[in-house]
Subunit: 328 residues, 2 copies
DNA sequence: CTGAAAGCGCTAACAG
DNA sequence: CTGTTAGCGCTTTCAG
């Protein structure tokens, strides 16, 4: 059996209340007393029992990171990275982090587990219903990498528009006038943002994008490769293709290779996300780097603020960076 | 305030003890009584409070998955996949899962957090000390994807030897006689296994591997590419290169491309792990598929057995599968 | 099969 | 600044 606050109280000769204070609110205890308490605790190998504390305080200090996406692999490179960052942040705070997926969660929305959660970071395509459910339960919500019209929670977003702008700017500066975009059906919000940004920025740059130069495909490499082949087989072949993410861009590169087109001489390729695959390709893939770590940090920071009753910005946009590599 | 067991007791007209039993040990309660209880609970939206339960029972049902590796990205594709599987499994059990990294953990080994953990799955290069620490604290330990000589815990491993065997067999059947291996400095245990297996299997197949055909490099693509260039620039160039994992193999492919060697005609390349990058490369990379999902499941299964006081096999080896693709 | 009652370890008024 | 004390919500003997 682990030692309890009573053991420490007895050994140090102070009341249990004082021991409690020494641990959870040191300032309320005189220095000398505090030392006595800590000494006794040391001797006994005492450490506060979080369960009992949670019970008495009526709060758990427990938060969750919920990944909301439908694909087979939930923890893809992108979310794994955000997740890692949230893990780090939560570890340095007193919050306990539970990581789960929206689907697992939905199966047991009323479980003991979920009841104990005081705040949640929603990553990816969470539904408005899910948010409402949490709010109705008085759970603080922060959303990362998604935006829901009409839903009022703090958002942490990456600068999708800015990223696309960098891409188009870069391609334009390289003299490309006929740029295509290949979008994959992954997160609707993200794809939408990048797509709209592409249309708007190309227009701004006076580049006309013909209808056949904007294509949708499934989110896997092979679909992308096939769609890209069609794109690249056109009479008026685009000289550059912007893939909505790196997987799509990898598909474009595969297509180029299959068609014996040289990258970047015959066709330049750009991706988005700057995932690990970028440097594994040859030539390496130019891509937009997303600061996942920062997004995770901000998510935690905002959640903490919310839980502390402070306010936090309703939308935070994290800057991106273009990594120019051999593919352009 | 949430309803408590007292509210249910009052509304249903039975004692709190019976309500408690109805929820945690239904068989001990007469059918009709049980129904009354559940009805009342339904009406009140009552759900047992896990904290109070943990407090009374003196157990938390809390387990952890600790990832032990030094690299910058902890949740790489491999561990993310195991992690996901453990998450799924734990969600269907009554255990609560905490995911963390060994380094975060080490910084606060005595924290409230760690005290509450009843069992832990160690993923990756955990140290014997860490295991000892857990054991001394009476925490059940299961190890995944690593093996520590002299440390007696249940191990869940992938069939590294079998995988390498498949690789060599495959290459030999394609007529390759001069096969090189490029190993990267990632997990010592894994690299060691694959390396030894390679030496032993090639020998078994009567293939001689010269010293300059076995190289070590750092674990990143660029180091691999450089090392591979040396390998491929030799007079007696190997006709096939086995990369200790997919990242290394991707490096080999880059080197081949830089040297204007065709894959697979001039040099065949094989990887290990069957990660997402395999299909993004062109040609696609032949690789050994590791059943991460199964490894996670088994890890959970064994931990559960341990916690239930049952026994479980001391070593479980998960079969692998060779995915033959265009690179060979 | 069910009930009464004693905790589980800690916190938070309230009093001093 | 410190002590007393009454819970937090549930489980678990021990009786009945």
């Amino acid at each position: 059996m682990n030692p309890t606050i009573y053991d420490v109280s007895r050994l140090s000769g102070v009341s249990t209340a004082t021991v409690s204070r020494a641990f959870s609110d040191p300032d309320k205890v005189r220095e000398s007393t505090r030392r006595k308490v800590f000494e006794a605790a040391e001797v006994l190998h005492y450490y506060p029992n979080a369960i009992a504390r949670a019970m008495a305080r009526q709060r758990t200090d427990k938060i969750a990171f919920l990944i909301c996406k439908k694909d087979a692999t939930i923890l893809d490179e992108f979310y794994a990275s955000i997740c890692e960052s949230i893990m780090k942040e939560s570890n340095r705070s007193d919050y306990q982090l539970v990581i789960s997926t929206a689907s697992d969660w939905n199966q047991t929305p009323n479980t003991a587990q979920s009841r104990q959660i005081e705040g949640v970071i929603l990553g990816g395509s969470a539904s408005a219903d899910l948010v409402t459910e949490f709010q109705s339960r008085n759970t603080a919500v922060v959303m990362v990498n998604n935006r829901l019209p009409g839903v009022d929670v703090p958002y942490v977003l990456s600068d999708e528009y800015g990223g696309v702008r960098l891409v188009v700017e870069h391609l334009a500066s390289r003299g490309h006038k006929n740029i295509a975009m290949l979008a994959g059906r992954f997160s609707p919000y993200i794809v939408g943002e990048r797509y709209n940004a592409f249309l708007s920025v190309t227009k701004e740059f006076g580049l006309k994008v013909s209808a056949q130069n904007v294509k949708m495909c499934d989110a896997d490499v092979e679909s992308a490769a096939q769609a890209a082949e069609e794109l690249l087989r056109q009479k008026n072949r685009p000289t550059a293709v912007f893939g909505a993410n790196d997987v799509i861009a990898a598909g474009v590169m595969k297509a180029a290779r299959r068609l014996k087109l040289r990258v970047p001489e015959d066709v330049a390729v750009v991706g988005f996300d700057d995932s690990a695959v970028c440097t594994m390709l040859e030539p390496e893939l130019t891509s937009v780097h997303i600061n996942c770590q920062r997004m995770g940090e901000l998510g935690m920071e905002h959640l903490r603020a919310l839980l502390a009753g402070e306010t936090c910005p309703s939308v935070t946009v994290v800057p991106v960076e273009l990594k120019v590599r051999g593919s352009t």
